[in-house]
Subunit: 129 residues, 2 copies
Amino acid sequence: METQLDDLKFDAQGLIPAIIQDAATHQVLMMAWMNRDSLAKTIQTKKTHFFSRSRNKLWLKGETSGHVQHVKSIAMDCDQDVLLIGVEQVGAACHEGYYSCFFRELQPDNGWKTVAGRMVDPEKVYKKK
Amino acid sequence: METQLDDLKFDAQGLIPAIIQDAATHQVLMMAWMNRDSLAKTIQTKKTHFFSRSRNKLWLKGETSGHVQHVKSIAMDCDQDVLLIGVEQVGAACHEGYYSCFFRELQPDNGWKTVAGRMVDPEKVYKKK
């Protein structure tokens, strides 16, 4: 595994952006950051792991909610500094309960509007444990 | 336009990652960085403009190649620090001549493999001017 990770360009903080998309529909679900360890763990377990810059730690996506992402493909871009990962999403990708984190769109009148419906109630997913 | 740009969280360098996808098929084409000016210009002209960290300047995507991106939608994520922009891509998004910059995929044997065909010859697009 070492060799192909060496092909990637991690930034000064040792991170690389990872775009996550639904492998079947190509809908973009989220973007998060990976370091070398979280990517290695993602490849090894076939579940996405990210690096939290605010908490300064590796986390398994879905560790609290159960909404894990099963990895189907991993691509890199021409500059080898961005990843695109195709997944099968369990439940909702967004902690606000939407399938995709990109649920707000800019309207012609220049306001942001929620254009998707909530899939799950975040209160139920994160608080009633 | 000022108000809705204020809703976004630009990083310490004043930048925000922008994921570009084909508005019709949802294929992810590239990721690049925008600052406030390049996003304002993108909204105003309906053609994507980015901020080049290496050249420290704003650039119109396609300024050399003619391969511009006509903006169809702009979404932001839940944390308001990533953009997802749907476009109609003229020609190829990638400077290496592929429609998408994500043309290499990790294989089960752990090597990266080119999984797309070149759409245009980059020599013709960028050098014969």
